[in-house]
């Protein structure tokens, strides 16, 4: 059984994004970039499934600039077997990404696509569901637990109010939430080994081309800033201020 793990290169989660002064976007020059944290969780889960013997091969795929090879390399160091980079210098929309991933899925024939629930740059939380719809494979989003059998996958999902468990026929698309696992750090020997693993460099044309975009960014602005308020000395002063000054009690 094969698992396909789409991984995205994004701004590191510790970095605070800054809006460019010409309002054209967020400044990513000289900013630390990393694998999207939810994609890391997806890779980790795939590696654990492989360690348990439930799957044979993990393919990490990324759509992005040439530097996204590093992101794939990280996945390989964590335990993925090989990588595919679909190189593009555009910033594709979720639907464009989903269409390319569909072509990859049809070419590779995985039993499971395991991916992040959300990319922390665009905060769209859309690609997994779109891919599932385009492939007509069942979906389980926001997974906190995954049990794989030969023909089905049972997924516990984090939903408003608690948890929901679904069973999906394979092949299926599953998106990872925070509680699914805690991703490992790649060990030095594994980082060295990952250097020898294959990353296939592809173009969008190898997977049917980039579909037309549907959205244009008019501008990107900074949100209204909150300023620090006052420090109160004690709880009594706090209650007094909340009552009389803020009027919220």
């Amino acid at each position: 059984m094969k698992v396909l793990v789409p991984v995205k290169r994004v701004i590191d989660y510790n970095v605070k994004a800054r809006v460019k002064s010409d309002q054209s976007g967020v400044d990513l020059a000289n900013v630390k970039m990393s694998m999207n944290p939810f994609c890391e969780i997806a890779v980790e889960e795939a590696v654990r499934l492989k360690e348990k013997g439930a799957i044979e091969e993990i393919i990490a795929v990324s759509i992005g600039p040439i530097q996204a090879q590093e992101t794939i390399r990280t996945a390989l160091a964590m335990g993925a077997d090989r990588g595919i980079l679909i190189q593009t210098d555009t910033d594709p929309e979720p639907l464009q990404v989903a269409k390319l991933l569909k072509a990859v899925a049809l070419a590779e024939g995985p039993s499971l696509v395991l991916m992040g629930k959300q990319a922390i740059d665009g905060d769209n939380s859309a690609v997994g569901q779109m891919l599932s719809a385009l492939l007509d494979w069942p979906q389980a989003t926001f997974a906190s637990k995954i049990e794989l059998t030969a023909s089905a996958v049972r997924v516990t999902r984090e939903v408003d109010g608690g948890l929901q468990t679904l069973e999906l026929d394979l092949p299926a698309v599953v998106t990872a939430d925070l509680r699914l696992n805690e991703p490992r750090y790649a060990s030095l020997p594994n980082i060295m080994k990952a250097k020898k693993k294959e990353i296939a460099l592809k173009t969008v044309d190898d997977f049917g081309g980039l579909s037309a975009p549907h959205l244009t960014v008019v501008k990107v602005t900074e949100p209204a800033k909150r300023t620090a308020g006052v420090t109160v000395e004690n709880a009594a002063e706090l209650v007094n201020k909340l009552k009389t000054e803020a009027g919220v009690l």
């Binding site: 605070k16 891919l131 385009l134 608690g162 679904l166 009690l249």
Partner: protein, 314 residues
């Protein structure tokens, strides 16, 4: 243009997110219908019919819709979209689950978590954990949108729309509902609460979280929230998580106790009207957004706060 709003409900009651999404929809068009997709939802539909500005309420009922299985809800919505130019859904776990499917099946973009309607094609949405606001224009004939409900006022309830049943669609052929574990609580819901009291990693255990955060929340009639660290450590259930990748709240009063104020947490609460932070570290980033900061150990600050509230007649 006509707009379909997909109601937020749990088959038993209609959620306020629906009223807020109707407000967003009315900014696009005067012709707004509400779809209640579920099972046994007649009472929910009757409630939705009262929302001011709603033209018509549609009900679609089946087992799969009752469990709000993504494939089933999306199929039901897609079948209706020949009659609509836009579909708006609150960005809840249900809305986020099925709406991108609707977009893909219609071959249009999804516009996620809008906070403002600029015009019929243009929307504002937060990106990068709310550190930037993107104004985005869609060239699609049909718009598929999720709505950050906290950014919109709830529509009133002075209407009396008609209710009509529609085809629930085919359900989900390749996935099955197994079980759910829904936590019932008498407290207000996090998403719509006027006051939220949240606890962080500082609580150290689930027992301490219950002992410290819940009585304060109950005294204030507040909903309970938590940081990711508190949820990951098992101090609080997952759906308490406030933040970029949890729930977004904007209450009148947000009280953060033992929470440092990471970017991802701020993303979920910085639009609250008044923010109070209790933290023993004066340099904690949460104080940069707090209106009132109390630099203190929560172990003394929270009992003091309880006493001060009682003294103030609360």
């Amino acid at each position: 243009m006509a707009v379909l709003v997909v109601a937020d409900h749990d088959n038993v009651s209609l959620k306020d997110n629906t009223h807020k999404t109707v407000t967003a929809a009315l900014a696009l068009s005067g012709d707004v219908d509400v779809l209640v997709a579920g099972q046994g939802v007649d009472a929910v539909a009757a409630h939705a019919a009262k929302i001011t500005g709603v033209r018509k309420v549609l009900t679609a009922q089946s087992d799969a819709l009752g469990k709000q299985v993504g494939e089933a809800v999306a199929a039901c919505v897609v079948a209706l979209m020949s009659g609509y130019d836009a579909v708006l859904t609150p960005a809840t776990s249900v809305g986020k689950n099925f709406t991108p499917r609707v977009a893909a099946l219609l071959d249009v973009a999804q516009i996620s978590e809008i906070t403002e309607v600029v015009d019929a094609d243009t929307f504002v949405r937060p990106i990068y954990a709310g550190n930037a606001l993107e104004t985005i224009k869609s060239s699609d004939a049909k718009k598929v949108v999720t709505v950050r409900a906290t950014a919109f006022k709830a529509a009133e309830e002075e209407g009396s729309a008609s209710v009509e049943a529609v085809d629930p669609g085919p359900g989900a052929a390749k996935s099955r509902f197994v079980s759910d574990e829904i936590v019932k609580s008498d407290r207000p819901e996090l998403a719509g609460a006027k006051i939220v009291v949240s606890g962080g990693r500082a609580m150290g255990s689930a027992e301490e979280f219950h002992r410290v955060i819940e009585p304060l929340a109950d005294k204030l009639g507040a909903a309970v929230g938590a940081s990711r660290a508190a949820v990951d450590a098992g101090y609080a259930p997952n759906d308490y998580q406030v933040g970029q990748t949890g729930k977004v709240v904007a209450p009148q009063l947000y009280v953060a106790i033992g929470i440092s104020g990471a970017i991802q947490h701020l993303a979920g609460m910085k639009d609250s009207k008044v923010i109070v932070a209790i933290n023993k570290d004066a340099d904690a980033p949460i104080f940069q957004v707090a209106d009132y900061g109390l630099v203190s150990d929560y172990k003394t600050a929270v009992p003091d706060l309880m006493a001060a509230l009682t003294a103030a007649g609360i």
